[in-house]
């Protein structure tokens, strides 16, 4: 049963408002480089995943993304995400020193599923990064996030990131999506 059949318009509008508030605030923390606070928005069992995408023939399109548990650009839990954040503050993390300037744009947001204390939120994003004098990268894609209510507050429990690029056109992926 779809969300539109489960919930009233008012309930859906409320959930969407909550999701927007959460994801916009989360994006703001990342762009403000408040990474420790960002970690505070994640559940203990967060799974943060970006599969590898490939160009395939139309008939092989089931091969387009690598499968969960296989090769991926990101396949992180709270431990590795915390390491990524810690790395930035200990020195010699050259990909981010000088720090990148990032901007997360989030759009086409929809709550696509609700269950118990969780909701699934789909959105499109653009992550724009510029570094040093003139380096520019832009990643566009789709996210599928699971937000969970923990002690009355929303937290991010799962993030699946589907980039449009197959060959990553940037020299690294040192930003959070």
């Amino acid at each position: 049963m779809g969300v539109d059949e489960q919930l009233s318009v008012q309930e859906r509008a409320h959930l969407r408002f909550e999701a927007e508030e959460f994801l916009y605030r989360e994006a703001e923390l990342l762009d403000d480089r408040r990474f420790d606070e960002w970690l505070g928005l994640l559940t203990e069992d967060i799974h943060y995943w970006m599969p590898i995408r490939r160009t395939t023939q139309a008939k092989d399109v089931h091969l387009e993304f690598t499968k969960p548990g296989g090769m991926a650009f990101f396949d992180d839990d709270l431990g590795t995400l915390t390491l990524r954040v810690r790395r930035l503050s200990v020195g010699r993390a050259w990909a981010e020193d000088p720090p990148s300037r990032t901007r997360h744009l989030i759009t086409n947001l929809r709550v696509t599923g609700v269950a118990d204390n969780e909701m699934t939120v789909r959105c499109n994003f653009q992550l724009y990064r510029t570094r040093l004098n003139s380096e520019e990268d832009s990643w566009i894609g789709r996210r599928e996030d699971v937000l969970r209510r923990v002690n009355g507050e929303l937290k991010l429990a799962r993030r699946n990131i589907f980039l449009e690029q197959t060959v990553i056109l940037s020299q690294n992926l040192s930003s959070f999506f």
Binding site: I52, M71, F74, T80, L83, V167, S170, Q171
Partner: protein, 450 residues
Amino acid sequence: MSEAIITTDRSSIDLDNCYNELTGVLDRRIFSDEAVYQEELKRIFGRAWNFICHESQIPESGNFFTNFIGEDEVIAVRDRTGAVNVLLNSCPHRGNTVCRAELGTTRSFFCSYHGWNFDLDGSLLAVPNEDAFYRNDLDKRQWGLVAARVETYKGFVFATLDPDAPKLFEYLGWVGRLGIDMMLVDGDIRFLDGVHKNRLKCNWKFAVDNLFDWYHVKVSHGSAFKVGLVTEDAMAPNDQMVILGEYGHGIGGPGLTHERQAEFDQRHAAGEGDPKWYDLHASHRTDPAIREMLGPIGFRSFGHPNIFPNLWVTHTRQMCLRIPRGPFETEIWWFNYVPADLPEAQSQQTIFRQNHIFGPAGFLEQDDGENWSHSTRGAKGTQSKMRPLNFTMGLGRDKVSNDPSGQSAIETVVNEHGQRWTYQSWKEWMQADTWEALMANHSKPPEGNV
């Protein structure tokens, strides 16, 4: 302040003098000169045995995987006889690519422009309106896809576009073969689905240079040390071994000295003793059959092989191709494998590690690209490119030791022997007009003092 400046013709690079193996000084314009780059595509990539794929990536008839030889697109495909063909991905009619996917399965390669259709061995099967428009004048036998020479070594598929190249086995030599054998110490392997690919704004040779470089580790990857992801003992030990092979193949990095190996063997036999940094490596090399395969020197090496020109083998069950995309851009492809019979839980551990160390989001590799790109920028400046680069570390201070088996190595501390060998060999490839000339004039790995 350095007064060193390249005093030869300032307007164009002099290949004969761009690298001086006696002084370890390199003309950095080899990283930025467009004419040099075009010659590299012809003389190196067009001539070498290039790694294309592993047989396990295309197990069934019709399975294909696309790759590059230099900037030329090629298709590796298994045909109905079970053979692997490597075909130039360019229709002989108008040049269009006949395969646009990275991987998949097909019965034939059908050109999307006019419909010429090619069999899995590259032969031209049919062209539309052959009778009415070509009046049956087309000799289809003459107009198939160009098929590269293909040979495999233990499941690794290589191809060359030069009919005069030596056999792959001979090309690899014992050092290139050792580099591949190191991947087989846990038995047969299968490649995993998914190749991490990304682009760096660097010359491909800076990426190759770096794989021999155990000097940069603590600096470039300092953050990974500081958060405890890697340890100094494992990643930057002082015990180093360099193995050099003909045609530019080389292996450089950690290596156990005879003494350490003897100590390990003694502790291992006794089943006791405090763990040492090298146990992580050495414990994979206790099987007599593995020692036999790798040889008396090879089995003590845990360095990074480079199969010339651009295939880097790591000890994380990964290997990396550095594919040129012009003098200022390189595509990095990470292939991942596991032992064929590895239990699922252990495969998951390997995959977790593979996903987190290298690749564009990897804890180590994020920071590499930044350095190589900026080194490449340094080879562009009107003034900076005229200043030579320093490859003098350890030059003339070490000695090659030979084993009765025929294997040889330089056992020393952190050094730049591997890089010097790469540029010396690179120069010889660039100077040779043919394979015959390269075979006659390339340097043999050094003996004595180096």
